[in-house]
């Protein structure tokens, strides 16, 4: 066994680092590093920079503007960009919809939508969940009834992340009530400007607006916006959920967060000593670091197998669980490091251009809200309980 990256991979890593040094705007990496809010324009700016280099849709096939990178190269890219505090690429169009279109859409759909995803013309959001259909997604009720050349859509989606910015939404809709529930679901592309669509904000526990409810009342959608076949949407949805899994563990983002945490633990004084010398805190930090190191290698093993053609279904579930646990633990240790200064919260300080005085340690303001906000990690993308169900059934055969 040899855990070294190949010289080619190392050369690639260097190329990515040079690119980031030259092209990642400090304004953006500062925002990411200090936990400030990224606006729509910030995310679009970063997308455009990546697109210019041809690296935005790095996991797409080359013919559609992808890079042809190996899974290992993609892992390196994702890790390096996270460590450099680059904004995360918004996944809805690029990583969720596009692979489905490429595999199941028509040539015409690909030609129309994919370039618009790349150049930022269309912002997509994901319309899967409904108030009554979360973990049990197949129970979804939003209905699309065929009427000549159109579907008439009625119903409600919820938890729609960044739907407030979206031009389009890809939806799972019910087109049949017969047979198995999974076999009456279709995959529909809907223009958010169509009459009858209403987007209402949901305020999350940290006070932020990142998710929405989307209501559909007699919304007319051309049948040409159907992806693949009617009533086969469940297959496409599942494909979407298992497709983009190289980054599910979030190794790079955890490494970046851990670096920041250690820096904080070195500069924070507790009982007259740096926090990092406190035996109880040091133990928490060490366990976290060990967990992350273990997960990193687990992730590489999964990628290695994936490179050899093994589809990582249950392994992705393991990575999702451990990856989110580690990120949540880092948030927890940041919060502990702040001591009493976890509590003060000046919301405006998360906006660009804030030039007021910080309260307490300069890093402390956003950390409690980050901790609370990241409770979502173990809920969305298939809750960690649902992931454990998958492991139980698919790997353990219980």
């Amino acid at each position: 066994m040899n855990l070294d990256f190949t010289p080619e991979d190392e050369a690639f890593r260097e190329e990515v680092r040079v690119f980031l040094k030259e092209k990642l705007p400090k304004r953006l990496s500062d925002k990411v590093r200090t936990g400030q809010h990224l606006g729509k324009a910030d995310m679009e700016e970063w997308h455009a920079i990546l697109n210019e280099r041809g690296w935005l849709a790095n996991h797409w096939p080359k013919e559609w503007g992808g890079t042809g990178w190996s899974v290992m190269q993609r892992f390196i890219f994702e890790t390096e960009t996270a460590i450099a505090h680059a904004p995360r690429v918004v996944p809805f169009g690029l990583s969720m919809l596009a692979p489905v279109l490429i595999k199941y859409g028509t040539e015409e759909q690909c030609r129309h939508y994919l370039p618009r995803i790349l150049d930022g013309t269309d912002w997509w959001c994901q319309g899967y969940s409904e108030p009554g259909a979360g973990s049990d997604l197949a129970s979804l009720k939003t209905q699309a009834v065929r009427d000549g050349d159109h579907y008439i859509v009625n119903g409600q989606k919820t938890w729609t992340t960044l739907g407030q910015h979206a031009d389009w939404i890809f939806c799972l809709v019910r087109t049949s009530n017969e047979g198995k529930r999974q076999e009456g679901i279709s995959f529909l592309l809907i223009d958010m400007k169509t009459p009858g669509i209403e987007v209402r904000p949901i305020k999350l526990l940290d006070g932020d607006h990142e998710v929405n409810e989307v209501f559909f009342t007699d919304v007319k959608v051309p049948v040409t916006n159907l992806v693949g076949e009617e009533n086969k949407g469940w297959t496409y949805a599942k494909y979407l959920l298992t497709y983009e899994r190289t980054n599910i563990a979030g190794v790079g983002s955890s490494m970046a967060m851990l670096d920041r945490l250690k820096e904080v633990a070195r500069t924070t004084m507790r009982g007259g000593k740096p926090l990092i010398e406190d035996p109880l805190y040091a133990a928490r930090l060490a366990k976290l670091e060990i967990d992350l190191e273990n997960m990193k290698t687990t992730n590489l093993r999964v990628l290695d197998a994936a490179g050899a053609g093994h589809a990582p279904v249950a392994e992705s579930s393991m990575l999702k669980i451990r990856g989110t646990e580690i990120r949540q633990e880092i948030n927890d240790l940041m919060r502990r490091a702040a001591g009493r200064y976890a509590q003060p919260f000046i919301a405006e300080a998360l906006d660009e251009g804030f030039n007021g005085e910080p309260v307490g340690p300069e890093w402390a303001n956003p950390i409690a809200s980050e901790y609370f906000n990241n409770r979502k990690l173990s809920i969305f993308g298939g809750s960690n309980e649902v992931q454990r169900e998958i492991i139980t059934k698919a790997v353990l055969g219980l």
């Binding site: 009493r340 919260f345 979502k376």
Partner: protein
């Protein structure tokens, strides 16, 4: 042995509970949080009139309670209803006014005519450096205090602050008026609602309350008892709300509470919360013992509510799924409050370390 809280205290609990249900409902809480002061002054005044604040102090100084269980039940009701307000500030500042026999100042606080807070922990600046211990100089009736204190509860609304400072002969407690010269205040909101502030004193005129450092320890111990009782009550709310949700939320055609994966998790949460409740009782029951015993039980309680608090808050959100992440659901505010109580008066690890230290010294 008797685990009942007794008739008088039950009356206190009923009065407070009714008042809070009436005057501190969820809408009122939202409005209070959005306000400049971070709490509802009219509600505070109403509570004072009902004698709730007096229940925290002994009869010698104009109160009508003051025992650790009186404190416990009041903070238990606060935990149930979660009204923002200077409860802990009043308790801790008041305990030092009580120790000093300053019935006049405390009387105004108990009557709701004056807001008092307690400034003990040093301020931390942007680069992480911790302010030196505040210092006091003077003698007799003439003292001044200098120093910087951090995250002082409801400082912006306070009329008087009980400040700890070193006289050169140890730590003492002083009374500083917020309107006095040399007093600088920076006020800000808290992530779980309410407000606090940074206090900078530059030769601010002060009155010596007590130079008996053990009185400061007693006030902190009272604060720990209160915090443990409040935390235990918040946990019980989270538990009950989550249980209700497990019974009513359906996925896959059945209530999610039928999934064994969640049943066992909920059972763990429930049994841990009982331990936290016991820890809070232990802290109150041992409050009157010698200082070392008292502090050991206080630290045991703060460690326990810190540890269980994290579990209870995280599991409540997790088992609610997406809805548990929303501002609209009171549950998320209970979870935030519980988590932040973990940061008040020392965090879980600090109290575990203190417990070890006290145990080794015993």
């Amino acid at each position: 042995m008797d685990f009942s809280i007794g008739e008088d205290r039950q009356m206190l609990v009923d009065t407070l509970s009714r008042y809070l249900a009436d005057k501190a409902d969820w809408k009122a809480r939202e409005a209070a949080i959005e306000s400049d002061t971070g709490f509802d002054k009219a509600m505070w005044q109403g509570m004072a009139e009902l004698g709730i604040l007096g229940a925290l102090f002994g009869e010698e100084v104009g109160g009508f309670g003051g025992s650790p269980f009186d404190i416990g039940v009041v903070f238990g009701e606060v935990g149930k209803a979660l009204p923002p307000g200077p409860f802990l500030a009043t308790l801790m500042a008041g305990k030092l006014l009580e120790a000093a026999g300053d019935a006049e100042t405390l009387g105004n606080v108990i009557a709701g005519a004056s807001i008092a807070t307690f400034a003990h922990e040093p301020a931390v600046s942007a680069d992480g450096s911790v302010a030196p211990q505040a210092s006091a100089s003077g003698s007799g009736d003439s003292w001044t205090v200098s120093g910087a204190k951090g995250v002082v509860d409801y400082l912006g609304s306070a009329d008087v602050v009980v400040v700890t400072a070193d006289t050169g002969n140890g730590l003492a407690a002083f009374l500083v008026e917020t309107g006095a010269s040399g007093v600088e205040i920076r006020d800000y909101p808290l992530v779980d609602g309410g407000a606090a502030g940074e206090l900078t004193l530059s030769d601010a005129p002060a009155r010596l309350l007590t130079d008996d450092a053990s009185a400061i320890d007693t006030a902190i111990a009272a604060g720990l008892v209160a915090t443990a009782w409040e935390a235990a009550a918040v946990m019980e709310v989270l538990r009950d709300e989550t249980l209700e949700y497990l019974r009513t939320r359906k996925q896959f055609g059945i209530p999610i509470g039928k999934f064994q994966a969640l049943q066992h998790r909920m059972a763990t949460v429930a049994l841990e919360i009982e331990q936290a409740r016991s820890a809070a009782i232990n802290a109150a029951a041992n409050f009157g013992k010698d200082a070392a015993t008292r502090d050991r039980f206080c630290s045991a309680a703060k460690y326990t509510v810190g540890k269980v608090g994290r579990l209870a808050a995280e599991e409540a959100i997790q088992m609610h799924g997406g809805i548990g992440m929303t501002w609209e659901l009171p549950l998320s505010h209970y979870a935030k409050r519980l988590t932040m109580l973990g940061h008040v008066l020392g965090e879980e690890d600090e109290h575990l370390a203190r417990f070890i230290e006290l145990s080794m010294a015993a």
